[in-house]
Subunit: 546 residues, 2 copies
């Protein structure tokens, strides 16, 4: 027997409808790719999204078609998302920082029928276009005045593309399980894999993100998703904000410390979301300039582990709370977030900072477990490490054109992370399974070594990787990037680590490097480092080093 | 094309599973019907709910079966809800304040197979039992020590009923549209109508209720749903609290001012939810005793309009925010809630109080409109009154055994309320459609007259009703209940109202009465008053009154 409640599918266009009606003039502010600050509101944005829907239909786009976007976070990109999903098509965000070959591979795998792109990607696309046979038209996210001459097939400036459309149309009537977005994970091995979100998963994820235990976003917030729209849909914030009537402040292409700081201050940003690298850069800018954060209250940091020193500094100097999040593209992306439960017994600031080093607790709709390699559940004692697996309505069960075989017998998805869970359900990521250092059969956490290393006053960034060792199979090698003007020595750093970890965890060597390679989403490319440094200890031994 | 996300239906048992894992010892505190305070936590509560599931299955209960409850808000009642819905059966809350005939009618209409009841309802049930042929067993919500001798069929104390069950069982695998709860509306005309909730509607409603724009509930809250579990499922709070890890403080059967105040203080309640009458009673208790509210921060008040004077007094004397809500059993029940958007321009406390007189704004998932009698949408200008209609995933599309014909062509449900909506989407309920006073073809709002009357220092409660009039068809008659020890006169009150409303809105007569009749959910029974007082003006005229 079913309940007798209304059939009201959870569809993304209902979010922008709600915002247009109930928060019509709430601002969406963008630092445009062309330069100037652009302002609009949810009512206008919805109307233009309807015009996008008309333009797509006029060009023959149908339900289920993939529309690629190669674009920064701007109001046009957001309008396009709602227009695309509003006709039942699928927005496919492509990370412009990928290698051109990867971009071509992804666009072809997705069989994108159109590509919407920012101006600064035109040269790249002109180079790639001959290899993109499925793309029927290129829409450049600009107006006629800024339109460059281009050889791109059927190229048209966005404003001209929608000029003939009056917005007098209806959204498609869809099943809530209809695909809405496609995002390829920047896999470090093998080909990229496409996560295919549904309207249902995106709406449920937004409802969960906004909760007081979560980001606690409401009608008085002004939210800056620094994480770009091509990074796991800017973590769902483009849906959360119109849902709750928060303003959106979109940084466009300028993600340097000075630009972010200026926009946070002038636009009175209360909440931001970014990977740690961004907030390290911002931190360095604030230190160098004496800048203040006068309206920012909370920041969700995710994508990789957040050093305690950074969390402490933002709190003590700026009164800004860094909430440590963990998730992944496959999770829409929210998995866990810093949450001080009464039983955590956080009595003071130090206690809160200690807690915030961990990745936090999952909200309702995210089920977690840790297992051994045979899939047997492991205890939540805060010490036992296992493979972290997840289950929930906004978590992938497979990938585009590779759907089967990704879940275990009980429907859990293996995140590829190694974690502990404490008795209160607090997750601490020990490492990516493939980044663990296996010394004599025992595991050493690369993340823990890195977190300790960046607490050293001279260290800006650190990476601990497994280097081959004749006796122990693998031993830790620490690579550090010094802060500007500083020159920490190998001995300094080893002394600094002594006593902070078990003796057998101490790196066998420390190398000071100028920079570390990063993935397109800001993570350190451990695979590349391992390839480069794998034989460092062997070479050193051969050369007679200590 | 569907998204490739996990199939994770929104089921109520997932909420208690989450709470048991992530908030296992968060308290559920009850003032038991037997007397003492009882304490449990979500892990224990879930385990006992699983034992209830086993007991139900052992007794032959199946998916879709209705299990009646005639009970106050207690931990056993809550366990029973999760046990019942966990096997796919339907909890059917029966309001014990209804007339015995109504209770029998409802239990028979629902075809309840079992009845779970508090001890104090045993005499009532013994009287009704011969007329309840579908009820196979009566479970009394107590232990063997408190079990009375009774003639009720297969009667058993709850604790004995689950004693043989070890909790080692699985929840049912259900479609999220499965029925979960049944609640009959206390219709003032015609037979009661049963609203049949689904797992999906209840889970979505809970996700929405918790939002920062809504009740803003999280892991540090201690929530007292004074609105009983038989009143629209205690407004969904028994699902919201375990979902977000808030503690539940259940007042059981003692809803008087002194009992509520004591429990709020000793249990450090931060949030409560109740009808205005309850908070008027509490207010009188606090005034009489000089009592303070030292932990309470916010209260959701709904069920009927909240007078500004009460909102102001709670804020100024206790620092407690009364959030004015509007909803109905058919809406699970949340419709709108006080929300100060930036564009409301609330600059100070007076502005906030002015805003809080209105019923507030709908959250995402509640669509609203006002129409004329022909269904044509009316403008949102804050002045134009129309029939308030609603659409959303937690709103009824019909009733149990009366499913069809309740929605308009666009799927909206007519609430029976007359309202204005301002340009910011703020709803103000003018009246129930049937309570409007139609004087010479023009509408007078009974609620507005009542709100003004209770602002008089001598008035505790007021009701304005339509009385027949030879010339104007209907004219307002105001009935007032004085505060203890006060004796306002007809002339006092008319003078007090003068200048506050249009002259033709002034009541034709004011009568001071000892008490007003209330429905089982605390609303003034306008129907009964109309029957009693309908001819008052005609009689007075015949008697030569002015």
């Amino acid at each position: 027997m079913f309940g007798i409640m209304q059939d009201w599918p959870l569809l993304l266009h209902r979010i922008i409808d709600h915002a247009a009606i109930h928060h019509p003039r709430r601002e969406v502010v963008t630092r445009s790719v062309e330069g100037p600050i652009h302002r609009t509101g949810y009512a206008e944005l919805r109307h233009r999204a309807l015009r996008v829907a008309q333009a797509l239909r006029r060009d023959g786009m149908r339900e289920g078609d993939r529309i690629g976007t190669l674009a920064w976070s701007t109001w046009r990109h957001l309008e396009a998302w709602f227009g695309i999903t509003g006709i039942g098509a699928v927005y496919h965000t492509i990370n412009p920082r990928l290698f051109p070959e990867q971009i071509a591979w992804i666009a072809n795998h997705a069989e994108d029928r159109m590509l919407l792109a920012d101006l600064n990607f035109v040269p790249l696309l002109e180079q790639l276009a001959p290899r993109l046979p499925t793309v029927e038209r290129y829409v450049l996210l600009t107006d006629a005045a800024h339109m460059p001459g281009t050889s791109l097939r059927n190229a048209i400036p966005y404003e001209e593309w929608i000029a003939g459309c009056d917005g007098d149309t209806e959204w498609a009537a869809l099943d809530e399980r209809a695909a809405s977005g496609l995002c390829y994970t920047s896999g470090t091995t093998g080909n990229p894999k496409g996560v295919l979100y549904s309207h249902r998963s995106a709406v449920i994820h937004a409802l969960v993100m906004a909760q007081p235990n979560g980001l606690a976003l409401g009608v008085n917030d002004r939210v800056m998703p620094v994480a770009p729209m091509f990074h796991a849909s800017a973590w769902g914030l483009p849906f959360v904000c119109p849902m709750v009537g928060a303003a959106l402040v979109l940084p466009g292409a300028r993600l340097d410390g000075a630009s972010l700081h200026e926009m946070m201050e002038t636009e009175r940003v209360t909440f931001a979301a970014a990977v740690p690298t961004i907030f390290m850069t911002l931190h360095q800018h604030l230190e160098a300039t004496g800048g203040r954060l006068s309206t920012l209250k909370r920041v969700m940091i995710g994508g990789s582990a957040v050093p305690r020193a950074m969390t402490e500094s933002y709190w003590r100097r700026h009164g800004v709370r860094l909430l440590h999040g963990w998730g992944m593209t496959e999770m829409s992306p929210l998995g866990t977030l810093t949450l001080a439960k009464p039983e955590h017994g956080v009595a003071d600031e130090e206690g809160w900072l200690d807690l915030s080093v961990k990745q936090g607790c999952p909200p309702f709709t995210v089920e977690i477990r840790i297992t051994d390699d045979d899939g047997r559940p492991l205890p939540w004692d805060g010490r036992t490490r296992g493979r972290l697996k997840v289950r929930g309505p906004a978590i992938a069960r497979g990938y585009f054109r590779d759907e089967a075989g990704w879940l275990d017998a009980e429907g859990f998805f293996d995140t590829g992370d190694i974690a502990t869970i404490d008795p209160h359900g607090t997750v601490e990521i020990a490492d990516r399974a493939k980044d663990l250092i296996k010394s004599g059969g025992e595991w050493i956490s690369s993340i823990e070594l890195e977190n300790l290393a960046v607490a050293h006053p001279d260290v800006a960034e650190a990476a601990a990787i497994a280097a081959r060792h004749p006796k122990w199979d693998e031993r830790p090698l620490l690579l550090v990037v010094p802060k500007p003007g500083r020159a920490p020595s190998r001995e300094d750093l080893l002394r600094f680590l002594e006593g902070k970890v078990a003796k057998w965890w101490l790196p066998d060597d420390v190398v000071v490097v100028e920079a570390l390679p990063h993935t397109a989403t800001g993570k350190v490319q451990k695979t590349a480092l391992r390839e480069q440094w794998r034989d460092h200890l062997l070479r050193r031994e051969a050369a007679g080093g200590d």
